[in-house]
């Protein structure tokens, strides 16, 4: 068994560092940007055009939270090539599997994280807005200087949850022909007839990646919580 672990580890880690980790990191960063925009639009009190925009974003969050991630991946990668629109996409939308994966993972994680960010902004006491407004700050400055820095601290644990989920969910990318870590473990298992060893081994590597993320979360929580103390000086 030691021999199997030794010989397959380089291939697994290579796939992990080439696909699993980059896809997870890039998708999460794009997802966070989408999430922040979605949260801010949905919290906006503006009327008119924003009303339609809010409805669109609400629909987006509903759609991606209500359908399975695997189905979303299939639609984007296998389905969109059949979306033939005269003049715009005469041959359908054909995406490289990695791009299709990143688009789907970003939109999926963006939908979940937007709710996290929205809730964390709502949890900041009204008095913070009032104090900032009474100084004469515009809404943008209040958000940037006063509300978001406090909301980030609150949203860190649930955002880390989403990131850790995403790292594991990238294993679904195997189903759209991406040779990421889980796909490699399947290929090796098919050759050496050792599914128990191979799938347990890949599980250990996912666990190691996620453990590193958990440490990172702990560090970030410490940094962003410096101003919170329970005891008086």
């Amino acid at each position: 068994m030691w021999h199997i672990i030794q010989s397959s580890t380089p291939q697994l880690l290579a796939a992990g560092f080439k696909y699993t980790i980059p896809i997870a990191i890039i998708s999460f960063i794009i997802g966070l940007v989408i999430a922040l925009i979605t949260a801010l639009v949905r919290l906006s009190s503006k009327k008119g055009f924003f009303y339609i925009l809010k409805a669109i974003f609400r629909f987006y969050v509903w759609l991606f939270r209500s359908t399975p991630l695997l189905v979303q991946l299939f639609i984007v990668y296998f389905g969109l090539p059949y979306l033939k629109i005269q003049g715009i996409f005469p041959n359908g939308i054909q995406l490289n599997p990695v791009i299709a994966g990143i688009i789907t993972f970003s939109l999926n994680t963006g939908a979940y994280c937007s709710e996290t960010i929205r809730a964390s902004i709502l949890s900041i006491p009204e008095g913070q807005w009032e104090a900032a407004y009474s100084i004469g700050m515009t809404k943008t400055v209040v958000l940037r200087r006063i509300i978001l820095p406090q909301a980030i601290r609150i949203s860190l644990p649930p955002l880390a949850n989403s990131f850790i989920s995403l790292v594991k969910d990238t294993s679904l990318a195997a189903s759209i022909t991406i040779v990421e870590m889980f796909e490699v473990s399947q290929q090796i298992a098919a050759q050496n007839y050792q599914p128990l060893v191979m799938y347990s081994l890949v599980a250990v590597y996912y666990a190691i990646f996620c453990t590193v993320l958990t440490w990172l979360q702990g560090y970030l929580e410490k940094v962003t919580s410096r101003y919170v103390t329970t005891s008086a000086e």
Binding site: P125, G127, Q128, E130, A131, A132, Y133, S134, I135, G136, M137, T138, V141, R145, I146, P149, Q150, R153, R226, Y227, V228, T229, A232, E233
Partner: protein, 249 residues
């Protein structure tokens, strides 16, 4: 000069402000008193547009605002940059150190450079007796210290008016005293202030003008000696209740 005419504000069926008209003289301290729920806090918050009255007129220097119409956000920003609010719950920014709380407005609203803002903030903290607390976070302050920082934060904007909404109601008497001393000092320097308070002893010392509000209406609007020398039975009852003078009987 700040002047309001026929200010009205309702919350559901409750008429919080009922055609209130008065003036708040410059370089003077106006104290608003009245029982809980009388509308005095709503009145103060309306002056800074944290509440939007439904009708009435708002005069501030050259501005004349008809409150029955929508007020543009640039007008509100303009007024807020010249008036500051001090809250009962301090509302310091917890993620910023004490000195950064004071520097925030000058840097991000008045666009002063960091060095100037820091120097002024340090002077203001010294003025409220908290020079040594510049680099701690608000969570490490006592209530009295936090409120003095909030006062320094409002002074940093060089406002025409400071509105104080029950600034010492959350403090025990000892801490209240350290805040009141700071406010008396500021009043002596001719800073225009409007203070909502339950502390009549303090009102007597600091007020140039007193407004008594009940059920959203003004029952008294005049000088401090006239208020305490009134023969209006309702106000006499209020004064005796607030100063516990009935306990001796």
């Amino acid at each position: 000069m700040l002047k309001i005419e026929n200010l009205t504000k309702t919350f559901g069926n409750h008429q919080a402000l009922d055609h209130i008209s008065t003036t708040f003289p410059e370089n003077k301290t106006t104290v608003i008193v009245g029982p809980s729920g009388s509308g005095k806090s709503t009145l103060l918050r309306s002056l800074n547009f944290l509440e939007k009255p439904e009708s009435g007129h708002y005069h501030f220097d050259d501005l004349d605002i008809d409150l029955s119409k929508p007020v543009s956000s640039s007008t509100i920003l303009n007024i807020r940059r010249q008036t500051e609010m001090v809250f009962q719950g301090y509302n310091l920014f917890p993620h910023l150190s004490v000195i950064k709380n004071v520097m925030e407005g000058p840097i991000y609203v008045l666009h002063k450079d960091r060095a100037t803002a820091k120097k002024e903030a340090a002077e203001l903290l010294a003025k409220v007796g908290l020079a040594e607390k510049a680099d701690v976070y608000p969570a490490q302050l006592s209530g009295g210290q936090a409120q003095r920082v909030a006062i320094a934060r409002s002074l940093a904007m060089h406002p025409e008016y400071i509105f104080l909404d029950e600034p010492t109601s959350a403090l025990d008497p000892e801490l209240e005293l350290e805040v009141l001393k700071v406010l008396l000092q500021i009043a002596k320097e001719k800073q225009s202030m409007i203070i909502v308070t339950h502390n009549l002893a303090f009102a007597k010392q600091v007020a140039d003008k007193i407004i008594f509000v009940e059920d959203g209406k003004i029952l008294f609007d005049g000088s401090e000696p006239d208020f305490f020398g009134t023969d209006n039975q309702r106000i006499l009852d209020f004064i005796s209740a607030m100063t516990f003078s009935d306990l001796e009987e």
